[in-house]
Amino acid sequence: METMSPLLNIAADLFAVRELGPWLHATVSSTVPEFSADEIVGPIELALHELCINIVEHSYQGAVGSIRLSGARIGDQLVFMVSDIGSAFDGDLGNVRDTQEHTIRGYGLAILQQLASRVDYERVDSANNWRVAFALPSATTSTTTTSTSTTTNTISTNKGMKQ
C-alpha cells in the first residue's frame, strides 16, 4: 500500500453513514492528491454508502454496532476495507439483483458492483470483511475473478471507474 488513509469508525445507523462523504474527500485528497476529490468521490461514496446501508439493515438489523473503514492507494486503484461484526453476509455476490429488473428494493449491492472494479467478501471469525476496489480514472486494466476459499465471495469486473 502506498498511502493509507485515517480510519473511519462509524456507528451502524443510517445517519452515521453520512460521515462517509467528508471522510472520502479527505481520503482521496491525501492518498491520490493528483486527482480532484470532487471529480472522483461521487461514485465511490454511492458505492460505499450502499454497502454500509446493507450492513446496517442486514448485518446488524437494527442492533447497536459499528462499521470500520480504511482506504489506501494500491497501484492504480483505490482500495477500501469495510468491516463489521454483525451477522454473516448470506447473499451471493455473483447473483445480486439485475438492475434492469424494476422492483422497489434490492439495488444496493448491485449498485456497489456496478461502481466498483472489484468487490471481495470474507467472513473471518465473527467479522465481515469487505474489500472494495476502484480503478483510478486513468486506469483501465483488467482483473481476473478468483475465489480463494469457501469463505471468500468474490466478484470482479473489467472496467475503470464508472461515473
Partner: protein, 113 residues
C-alpha cells in the same frame, strides 16, 4: 403547505390541489430521511389525484432507498389513476442512481425549466 427540514434535507409540498401535487426535495434523499418523502407522497395519492410531480432539482445525493421511495410514489400514483413525473436533479451525484438502475428509462423525467 407542509414542510420538514432538518440538516440539509427538506421535503415540501409546493403545490397541491385536489388534482395535482408537486413535491420538492432538497439535500440528501437517502435511507436516513426518505421516510419523510414516503409519508408525504402516500398522504397525497388519493382517488381523484391526476398528477404527482417530484422536483429533485435541488437534491444533492440519492441512494437506493431514496430511489425505492420514488418508485413507490410512482406506483401509488398510477394506482389511483394519476400521472407521475420527476424533475431531474441538477447534481450529477444525485442523478447517478437513476442511470445505474436504469430507472431514468422508467420514470417520466424532465429537465428543470
Amino acid at each position: 403547505v407542509s414542510q420538514t427540514s432538518v440538516d440539509s434535507f427538506a421535503v415540501q409540498v409546493q403545490t397541491v390541489t385536489t388534482i395535482t401535487a408537486v413535491i420538492t426535495v432538497a439535500g440528501r434523499l437517502d435511507a436516513a430521511r426518505c421516510s419523510e418523502l414516503r409519508v408525504l407522497t402516500e398522504s397525497h395519492t388519493q382517488p381523484g389525484l391526476s398528477r404527482m410531480s417530484i422536483d429533485l432539482r435541488n437534491a444533492q445525493f440519492i441512494d437506493s432507498v431514496g430511489l425505492a421511495a420514488l418508485v413507490k410514489a410512482m406506483r401509488d400514483s398510477q394506482a389511483v389513476g394519476a400521472t407521475f413525473d420527476i424533475v431531474k436533479p441538477s447534481n450529477d451525484d444525485a442523478m447517478r442512481i437513476f442511470r445505474l438502475s436504469k430507472f431514468d428509462e422508467v420514470f417520466d423525467m424532465r429537465d428543470a425549466t
